[in-house]
Every structure is written in C-alpha cells, then in structure tokens.
C-alpha cells in the first residue's frame, strides 16, 4: 500500500470513528429522552423526569465508551489506544526516549550500512543475468591461464562452460574524442564478452566474436553508461563517432546499460574494447603463451548440472594437457575455478564482511541490552501505576501489550532515524571513488532490501528489549507495591539488568580491543620500513606508447624526461622505474631466476622468483633506498656484460647465503640473460603491506624499452607547485604526453585502503559501543546512588570517609565494569585473529593494545560514574533526613 492510500484509509477510519461515536451518542440520548417522556406521562415534572431518566440510565460516558468497544471490536481500536497511551507515557520521560531512540538509531543505522555493503559484496552476485552460474579462473590463484593462447585452449577444450569470455585491464589509456585527451580506465575483453554475459546495450550495439579477425581487426569501443554520461554528456550522437585511443582511431559502437558495471565488483571500467586491440595500444602480447599478464580472468556460465568442483576438475584436466604440450611455457600446478566478481579476494572479503556484520550485530545486541536495562528501570519506576492498573482489574496481558507497544514504538522511531541516517552514507559510499587514479569503488546496494532488514531489526530489537521488564510485570504484587511504595529492596542478588550490563560492557570492550588492534596495525604499517622513503616524493606516471613513441625511441625519451625533471629548481634527485613503483596499485612483477650454471630454463629449475623492478640510475637516491654495499647503477650499464643488477638483502640471503657472499655473484633470468650483482640494497615492501619479506632485484631500465614508467622526483618544495612545474616541463617536451602526477604517499593509500577501511569501520563501531556502555553504566550508577541516597546520608552522618561512601555507592557498578571488561578483552584477543587477513601484523598480544584497552575501559568507567559519584559525595545528611 502506498503512503497516500494508507493515510486516506486511516483518515477514513478515524472519521468513521467520529461518525460512529456520534451515532452512539444520539442513540443513548434518545433512550434517556424516551424514559423521560414515560416519566412525564406518569406525572413527574419535566426537570425531575429528565434527571431521574439520567440516573436510571447510569454512567453515560462509561456506556458510550463500552458501546464503542462492543461495536468496533477491540483490535484496531485497542491498538490505537495503546499507541496513544504509549505516546502519552513516553512524552513524560523525554530523556529516556531520546537516549533510547539515539542508541537504536545508531545501532540500526550501523547494521543497515554494513548490510548494504555486505549485500552488494557477497549476497548479490554481479548485476548481470543468471549471475549465479557465472564462474571462472581467478586472478592470483594460478597464473597459467592468464596468457591469451592458454585462455583460448581452455575455452575450446573444456566441457563445463557454455562459453568462456576473458578480460584484462586497460589502465591509464588516453581517450581523445576530439581535442581533449583524458586518461580513462577500461577493460580489454574477448569478443564474446557481452554475449557470454547476456547483456543488452543501452545504445547502439556491442561487438561480438564475429567482429574479431585477428590482431588489430576490431578497433571498436563500447562506453560504460556512467562514463558516457559524464564525459559525453548523454550525447546519443556518439554512436559511430571515431575516438582516438592512445592516438589510434576507434569507432564507438554502443553504450552499456546503466546497471552494468563490468565483471569485477570493486572496479568500474570507463569503456570496453576487443582484446585483439590490446597489443597495438601498448598492452601485453596475445601470441605469447608465457605472457601471463595478457588476461586478468576468464569466466562463463556453467552448463546445467555442472558444479564448481566438476568445472575445476575439468579445467585441471585441460591444464594437464597443456603442460604436456608446452612444458616450457605452461606449468600449471592447480587451477582454481571460483565465482566471478571478487576474484582472489573472495575469502578475505567474506571473512571481513562476516566479522563486520557480527560486530554490527553485537552493537545492536549491546543497544538492546542497554535499552532493556533502561526500559525495565523505566517500568519499575512505574511499578505503582502497573500495580494500580492490576488492582483496578486490568489483565497482565493487557499491561504487557501496552509495554510492548511502547517498546515497538521506540524501536520503530530508532529504526526510522537509523535508516534515514544510514541511507545518505550508503549513497555516498556507492559513488565514492577513493582514488583519483584508479577506477576502484565500493559496491553498495541501496535498494529495498535495506529497509526490510532495518524494519526487521527494529522489530526484533523492540521485542528483545521489550521482553526484559516482562518478569517485573508478571511478579508485580499490587497489594505490596501500593502499600510500600516503589522503593523495593536493595538486593545482593544478581539481577537481569546487571547481567545485561556486563554483556554490554563485554561487547564494548571487545570492540574497543579490535579497533585498537586495527589502529595499532595501521600505525605500524605507516611507520614500517618500506625500503624507500615516500615522503617528499612525487611520482609522474607516463605511458610513452599512448603518445606514439616506438620502442627504440623510448630510452632516449626517458632520459630527456629525467633531465627535464632534474632541471626544475629545488629538485634534489630524480629516477625512473618501469611499470609501477613498489606498493603502487598492488602491482609488481616477478622474475624467474636461475642459477648461473642452469642452462635448461624450465620452470622446475627455478632457483628463486623475486620481484623485479627496472630502474634508471639515480632511482635509489630519488626513492630513498639505502645501498648497503657495492654501487648504484650508472648510465653505461646498458653496454656491460653480464648485465649489472641490484639485489635486496633477502635475495642475497636466499640466493647466495648472505650479503657478504652475494657481491659479484651471477644468476640468470628467464630470458637467459646472465646478470651480475653489483650492489646490495635494503629490504622493503613491494606488493602489499602484509607480505612476508620478499626477495627483489633491480635491473637497468635502459635495457628494456618499457613504455610505461614512473618518474620519481624528490624535493622538499611544495608538492602542488612542484607538480605544476613538472607538468609544464613534460608539456614542453611533448604536448601530447599525459602525466599522472601524485605523491608516493597518496598512492600508498591504495595499499593501505583495506586496513584503513577496517580501522574506520571498527573505530566507528567501537565508538558506538563505548557510548552505549557509558550510558549503561551511567544509568546503573545513577540508579543505585538515587536508591541508596538515604543510606548514604546516614553513613556520612555516622562519619564514613569519602572513599567508603564511594565504595558503597559505586562499588557494584565498577565491579560489573571490571568483569565485563575482562570478558570483552579475552574475546577481543581471540577475534583479532580474523583481523590478520586485512591489517598489517594484527597481533593482540601487544602491550600497547592491552594497556590501551584497559585504559579505555577505565576512562569510560570514570566518565560514566563521575556524575553519580559527585552526587553521592555531596549527600547532605541533614537535608536528607529532614525531607523524610
């Protein structure tokens, strides 16, 4: 039912209610009039007759009310009355209402947000038809099927998939629709990509497998809806237009539908193009079976009846055939087939989301425990009212229904507020692009399911905290309460409220511990030794292929770029690294390294697979990497044989047994080149912050005409100014060359992103838990102080010391705090194991974390008991006793 019709029907019912009431009134008055008529006829005078008739009739208002109930039935009306009554009761205690609604709004809002992300990340498969049967190879699981020829073989030889499509990234591609080159990030896909996905275009058409006729045969472009909207301003005339992609002409064929966002959940590509164009645009080769950077993942719909296990076995069978046919290039160990969308992150993402949802659920439980306590205190202060109502003949069921209505009313208000607050946050998250240079985003669903979940949570929490005071009502003895007043006994017995409080404190302590673990890990990861110094360093990403440079022009251009950068005033040192610098965009290449004596360079003979970076002379200084021994590379190293290289400490240790023995030692790389170690550098981080120490080698970039590279510029000048100068000098060299300039620290944010997100989420939840605990302890302490005010007064009068007063007033609350904190801390230490997936060296057995958690809980207790303690201390026995 839509809100308008609902309101109209409610109004009609209310109006009808009035109508019915009027009719009853008229009828009862007619009765009295008839009786009066009879009395007058019998000889009474009018005034007395009318009075007599009214007396004989009895309580007019009472019978009107009863008649109304009899006529309308009590269902809706009773409910309506309950609500009206609940509103009236709740209005009397605004403090209680505000704290209850706020707590619930926070808890339900947090759950709605977490659910929104979880829904999009895990529950909902990709936004394409039949996404449930979409499976494929997974990046990071095994690289072998990531070369184009191997993908084609898997596509042709498998028996599990209806058809198999593949895609790769095209990052930093320059799109120029007219006179305005701008970088864009897209997917290079197999021709059957859209056919396999069963997608329909929003405009124009998609390319198909029939459009591909070998290398460079399909210069077509499909724009993603959002990109078309932002860059082409919804121009429908874009179809058929020629756009320059890295200076090559491509024809725009179509625009994909607004719902379609590619085949990776956290990447939103700007465009799609046939993968047969990849190599021409400076990408990886499709013909080389050993080039495992040609394909990111392949996927397809499983045939009916084929399970993931069967598909995996099938893929491994194909891999076995390929190993036999191409022993040199293809050596699959174990192929993994998984659901398309989250690639190799599926496990960690699931783990993290589950943990987050669990924590959010705990916050809600803590809020319910808190409210249950508040609510039963609220109810017990109404004990007299409840007792009176019972004495006057109200049933216990009726009173419980009334309490439940109050609880539900609070819960629904809290839930509504929570969703109203959570939705904008979700909408913001869904459009949030955390990094300017990368098309990463957080998948978020903002649909109806969130409202449903929030409503369900609100009802559930209403029920949970509404049920707490039930026992109170069931055991209420009207006689006792009316006689003795609602003071009750100060029992030594453990009450439900106290158990709830302990549970709530434990949950809070758990959250505080986990967020401290995350914060600590984040701090540690920021201060960790990266093996380079990211401060005061700007990185300029350039792709010479996009500007039309041929391979033999590249080394010369690199040199000119470096010289131009070095000429900028205030620049201390410059260097260059091919592809990506360490820790940028989680992308690093591994090289297969063989012993010097090995001549059969097959994979089984590999000695080590270190990360490999191609760097220019001067890179070490610009990056701030310490040279431990030997020399840096120099500009003549391209003419030296064997090829000189730098190795890190770990490489020296694993390959040659230590840095002392490594200098001057030789090894071979995959293409057979003999390499000699001329310098040893410090260890560092290369691909991710959580990696174990990895071996790495640096090779002279002049030998390899890699078109994509980053210039590393170290200077203590203002980065904005410096970036402007850098851009200007690059433009002076070549106006068509686009440079992506960011500081190294900015780019590090990408690697730190998961840890940051985890810290933020945990921090927010921890804060909520703390607020809830403070209100809970505060409520408990205030309650116990106010109940024992008289006793405290007598103690003070008898000469009790301040400390003794405090002990008797707050001892119990503080004991509960201690018990809860210890339990929570223990749970937190166990739960931190889950965190190790996401954050750097998450270890709870860290004195800082332990001390921090204890301190936080103590502070929290101090904060919560401060006011009640002041009140207990300021007890004036004279005034108190006089009041009685």
């Amino acid at each position: 039912m839509n809100p308008i019709t609902w309101l109209r029907s409610l109004a009609a019912r209310l109006f009808d209610r009035d109508g019915a009431a009027r009719e009853i009134d008229e009828e009862l008055r007619a009765h009295i009039a008839h009786r009066a008529d009879d009395l007058i006829r019998a000889g009474t005078d009018r005034a007395r007759a009318e009075r007599q008739a009214r007396i004989e009739f009895g309580g007019l208002e009472h019978y009107k009310e009863e008649s109304h109930h009899a006529l309308s039935g009590s269902m809706f009306d009773g409910f309506f009355h309950d609500i009206v009554f609940a509103v009236r009761i709740l209005r009397k205690s605004p403090g209680f209402v505000v704290s209850a609604v706020t707590a619930l709004a926070l808890a339900i809002g947090a759950n709605a947000v977490v659910f929104g992300v979880m829904d999009a990340m895990i529950i909902h498969p990709l936004n394409v038809p039949d996404a449930k049967t979409l499976y494929g190879t997974q990046y990071g699981a095994d690289l072998e099927f990531q070369s184009y020829p191997s993908y084609v073989d898997l596509r042709n030889r498998n028996h599990s998939f209806e058809d198999l499509a593949a895609f790769n990234f095209m990052l930093g591609t320059v799109l120029n629709p007219g006179n305005d080159p701008q970088p864009a990030n897209g997917f290079a896909t197999s021709g059957n990509y859209f056919t396999v996905l069963q997608e329909q275009p929003f405009l124009g058409r998609f390319y198909t497998a029939a459009d591909e006729h070998g290398q460079g045969s399909a210069p077509y472009l499909v724009l993603a809806y959002n990109y078309w909207h932002a860059r082409f301003h919804d121009d429908r005339g874009v179809i058929g237009r020629v756009v320059l992609v890295n200076k090559h002409p491509f024809t725009v064929l179509g625009v994909s539908s607004p719902e379609f966002g590619g085949t990776l959940k956290f990447v939103a590509p700007d465009f799609f193009m046939p993968i047969v164009e990849q190599e021409i645009l400076g990408g990886n080769s499709l013909n080389d079976r050993a080039n495992t950077a040609a394909i990111f993942e392949s996927f397809g719909h499983l045939k009916p009846g084929v399970t993931q296990q069967l598909a995996e076995a099938d893929a491994n069978r194909v891999a076995g055939e390929l190993v036999k046919a191409y022993p040199k290039e293809f050596q699959a160990t174990h192929v993994v087939i998984g659901r398309t969308g989250l690639t190799a992150f599926t496990g960690p993402v699931h783990g993290f989301m589950a943990a987050l949802m669990m924590l959010a659920g705990m916050i809600l439980l803590a809020a319910c425990a808190n409210l249950g306590g508040l609510f039963s205190a609220h109810t017990s202060s109404r004990a007299k009212e409840v007792a009176l109502r019972l004495a006057l003949g109200s049933t216990r069921r009726r009173i419980l229904r009334q309490l439940m209505t109050e609880a539900m009313l609070l819960a629904l208000c809290g839930g509504t507020l929570g969703v109203l607050g959570g939705m904008p946050l979700l909408t913001r998250l869904s459009t949030w692009q955390p990094f300017a240079g990368a098309p990463l985003h957080i998948p978020v669903s903002t649909g109806a399911s969130i409202y449903v979940v929030a409503l369900a949570l609100a009802l559930l929490s209403g029920f949970l905290f509404g049920i707490v005071p039930v026992r109170l009502v069931m055991q209420a003895n009207p006689y006792e309460v009316v006689k003795a007043g609602a003071t009750g006994k100060v029992g030594r017995k453990v009450t439900v409220r106290e158990i709830l409080l302990v549970a709530q404190i434990a949950i809070c302590a758990l959250l505080v511990t986990s967020s401290l673990v995350a914060v600590r890990a984040l701090v540690r990861s920021v201060n960790a030794s990266f093996g380079f110094e990211p401060r005061n360093t700007l990185l300029a990403g350039v792709n010479l292929a996009t500007a039309g440079y041929t391979n033999d022009q590249i080394p010369q251009m690199d040199r000119r770029l470096l010289d131009a950068m070095a000429a900028i005033p205030g620049v201390e040192s410059v260097g260059l690294v091919n592809n990506y610098p360490p820790l940028v965009y989680t992308a690093a290449f591994r090289e297969n390294v063989f012993n010097e004596q090995t001549h059969d360079l097959k994979l089984s003979n590999i000695a080590l697979a270190p990360y490999r970076f191609n760097v220019s002379p001067g890179y070490l200084k610009a990056a701030g990497t310490t040279l431990l021994e030997g020399r840096d590379l120099n500009w003549h190293d391209d003419k030296v044989s064997p090829v000189p290289a730098l190795a890190n400490r770990q490489f020296s240790k694993q390959m040659f047994g230590g840095i002392n023995g490594a200098m001057g030692k030789r090894f071979r790389i995959a293409d057979g080149t003999l390499v000699e170690v001329v310098g040893i550098i410090e260890d560092g981080k290369y691909m991710s912050l959580t990696e174990d120490q990895q071996p790495a080698i640096l090779m002279p970039s002049m030998l390899y005409n890699d078109p994509q590279s980053y210039l590393v510029v170290r200077s203590s000048r203002d980065p904005n100014q410096l970036a402007k100068l850098m851009r200007a000098s690059i433009r002076d060299l070549d106006g068509g060359l686009h440079a992506d300039i960011q500081s190294w620290n900015q780019l590090l944010e990408v690697v730190q992103f998961p840890a940051r997100m985890a810290t933020m989420a945990l921090g927010a939840l921890g804060l909520m838990g703390a607020v809830l605990s403070i209100t809970g302890i505060f409520g408990m302490a205030t309650y116990s102080v106010s109940r024992r005010l008289k006793e405290l007064g007598i103690r003070v009068a008898l000469g009790a010391k301040r400390i003794e007063v405090l002990q008797s007033a707050l001892g119990r609350a503080l004991r509960l705090l201690a018990i809860g904190s210890v339990a929570g801390l223990a749970f937190g230490l166990m739960a931190s194991r889950v965190l190790a997936f996401i954050v750097y060296q998450a270890t709870p057995r860290d004195p800082f974390v332990l001390a921090g958690a204890v301190l936080a809980m103590a502070l929290l207790g101090l904060l919560a008991t401060w006011i009640p303690a002041q009140r207990a201390l300021s007890v004036n026995p004279i005034a108190l006793l006089r009041e009685e």
């Binding site: 009853i24 009765h31 008839h34 009786r35 004989e56 009895g58 309580g59 019978y63 009899a70 309308s72």
Partner: protein, 113 residues
C-alpha cells in the same frame, strides 16, 4: 419493590434476542419489553443494555435501522437477522435443556436416588 434477581451471565443477550424476535424495537423499547416478559424480575442498569446490543450487532445477529418512535422521536430500531433467528433458536433450546436439568436436579428427593 419486588425481589429482583441478578442477571446470570449470558442471559441478557438471550433476553434481547427474545424481545426483538417479537417484532422490531428501539433500545428503550427492548428494555420495556424485557421488563414486561420477565415481570420486572430481572434488574439491569439501563445503560448496560447498549454494549450488549452493539455486541449482537457486531456479531451480525441484529440489524439496526433508524426510524421514528411512537413518541415521535428519532430512534434506532433493531430486528433479528437470519443468523440472529438461528442463534435465538439454538440459545433457547440450550437454555431450556439447562433449566430442565437444573430443575430436575434441584427437585430430586432422597427416595429417587
């Protein structure tokens, strides 16, 4: 004043049905008719008639309609619906059975046992 018995629970409904079964009546009329047929042996407060009356309306046993009384006043008249007539028959039979059983029980003497 004659000795007036307290109303047994449930008897008021049956008396209303009985009163209306003899012809459509308004509220005050029903009260008078009940007084008539019970020879004023039953006492109820006049207002108590109405909640019972409306309960019967809601159960679909009585059908109300506005009309004009002998006193020339606007009043709501009640008559039995089909369901009302059926219920009246059943209740009457039930009541008679109970009454007969009670009478027999209370009339029993020592020799008969």
């Amino acid at each position: 004043m004659p000795d007036q018995a307290q109303l047994l629970p449930g008897t008021l409904d049956l008396l209303i049905l009985k009163a209306v079964s003899l012809g459509p009546l308004h509220g005050y009329g029903i009260l008078l008719r009940i007084g008539q047929i019970t020879s004023s042996a039953l006492l109820i407060e006049q207002g108590a008639l109405y909640p019972a009356l409306f309960r019967l309306v809601r159960q679909g046993l009585l059908k109300p309609s506005w009309g004009v009384s002998d006193n020339n006043r606007r009043a709501k008249f009640y008559e039995l619906t089909t369901a009302g007539r059926k219920r009246f028959r059943e209740e009457t039979e039930g009541w008679n059975r109970v009454a007969a059983a009670m009478a027999a029980a209370l009339g029993a003497t020592a020799e008969e046992i």
